[in-house]
Symmetry: C2
């Protein structure tokens, strides 16, 4: 595991505004919290060793069979589980820049990286760029590799078309990762799931450690699947706000923002470094951003932010202006 | 992962009394639950990628340095992490009968079992027997093997002397597992920790997946370490009750109970099988026991129970009598 992921507010103490992870920080979780508060008794019993109840609900929701769904402690557990399960053919490729855990998981299992790899990892929408690859690109990729892992953790933060769970299963050699963390703004719970063919899910399930998902996370997941609350803001309006933030930041001298199809975006700062910008914003303004310099292929000048409310985004723009002004 | 661990009440629906896992089912968790209810906001942020705050509290509590402590998602995560970390010398030995996950974890990593193994697993107090090995036995074991894993998950359920965390660290080649699940009666949270030399902890930490411990589990752990609430019943009285239950069960024709130094105990039923006894108790009486036949070396007749309240224990005795009476 590398140090330096986003949402590391615990390093700075008081954080007033959080732009550092890729999720909307103001999700209305009051109903979910009330539900959990009423179900805290579940801490006194073992959770199901594997999360069959939640898997059945997800399968139902996606029009799949429960044998095609595997619940994990966040997408992160799925990433390590996949690297472990398929290590008998230990070559991999990551479409970069991307989430560092794919590479960490493969290296831990002794994989080496090649262009013609057995296992190909794609994050779509891509992190940290916010780019979205189209469906044909993904399907082509699945023809070029023995196995493709398609991490759709950010799927609820774009309006571009993505592979559906059913399409993912039909591809036959594709494992699709989904994040309940990102969808519902609950990164503290550690909850995600894998969708793939029953044959591939069975291989993963055989490798799964028991009880990795905490009982409260399962309770929350079951409630979210049953209730389907609208926890994120209206997607259309939120993406419009992200475009507005991107344009305002891009106009600042010394800042260049890359295009994005999601709520988060990559930028560079010059001549200062992203680490300096991050420290200034955290220590002077109580604002947390992501220093993106530790993504492979990026530079010490790269940072990433996710749009929040218009007021917060405006405050970020003003604070960045203050930083770059001599 | 095998099927058929204890506490599988989710298979039977209504369970009125739970003797199936090794923990006291009536721990008073009201203060912990109130604390968690007031801190549900933590689900909206990522937990620390590794649990440094809780590790510092545990180290403080044990008189160790934080570099000698590693928090995991239950002892189960530690078991798999150990098997993975030390697989370059893939021979193991388990002192049996014992918890099946040691073997599952080693097999998954390609270990083979030999008497003169590099890696030796001991659960002390032992599960499912309730036997306690003395300190000299454990120290001798550490001289015979390159590395010893000493799982003290049930340490708070015996009054026999066990290796302290400090003694475990001083041994040099010993990894000691501790379960907050068992200590505080919170198996739903998935929380445990490893104590070992800083060098061995560093090897494990390098292999650790990020964010495996859910934010509410960390919050609970921090509160439990700070408050040290008396959640289990008085140990002396509880062990006396366990001895009383054992004696009453042992007097039933067709039932033989083995000696135990803890709150749980292994027994056999004849001529019926443990599976039949379990089904009768669950379906007719709403009582859950552990069919122990899937512990390697045991028979279809072995079952395990943990003492609960005197009233519940009496009810179990009567129900077992009813089962064996033609």
């Amino acid at each position: 595991m590398i140090e330096g992921h986003g949402d590391d507010g615990y390093r700075y103490g008081m954080v007033r505004m959080n732009f550092s992870s890729n999720i909307y920080a103001h999700a209305d979780l009051s109903a979910l919290k009330a539900y959990l508060a009423a179900h805290l008794d579940c801490i006194a019993s073992y959770p199901e060793p594997s999360a069959r109840t939640l898997e059945a609900l997800i399968a139902d929701d996606c029009g799949l069979d429960a044998s095609q769904v595997l619940v994990t402690a966040g997408a992160t557990e799925a990433i390590y589980l996949i690297a472990q399960t398929f290590r008998s053919d230990p070559t991999y490729r990551v479409l970069r820049p991307s989430f560092s855990e794919y590479e960490d998981a493969c290296r831990q299992e002794g994989y080496s990286e090649t262009e013609q790899a057995a296992l190909c990892w794609l994050c779509n929408p891509e992190n940290p760029t916010g780019r979205v690859y189209d469906k044909d690109f993904v399907k082509n990729l699945s023809r070029q590799h023995r196995l493709v892992v398609l991490d759709q953790s950010y799927e609820y933060y774009t309006d571009r078309p993505l592979l559906s769970p059913l399409e993912a299963v039909e591809t036959g050699n594709l494992i699709q990762l989904h994040s309940m963390t990102k969808r519902y703004g609950v990164p503290g719970l550690r909850l995600g799931y894998v969708v793939s063919s029953a044959a591939l899910v069975a291989l993963l399930r055989a490798r799964m450690r028991p009880w990795t998902v905490n009982a409260l996370a399962l309770k929350a997941g079951e409630w979210l699947l049953r209730e389907k609350p609208q926890i994120l803001p209206d997607r259309h309006a939120y993406l419009a706000e992200a475009r507005r933030l991107r344009e305002r930041l891009d106009k600042i001298a010394g800042i260049e923002m890359e295009p994005t199809s999601t709520n988060f975006m990559l930028g560079t700062v010059h001549p200062a470094t992203a680490a300096e910008l991050k420290d200034f914003l955290a220590l002077q303004k109580g604002m947390l951003i992501r220093d993106a310099s530790n993504f492979e292929g990026l530079t010490p000048h790269h940072f990433r932010v996710a749009a929040q409310t218009p007021e917060e985004d405006d405050a970020l723009v003003e604070a960045v202006k203050e930083f770059v002004t001599p």
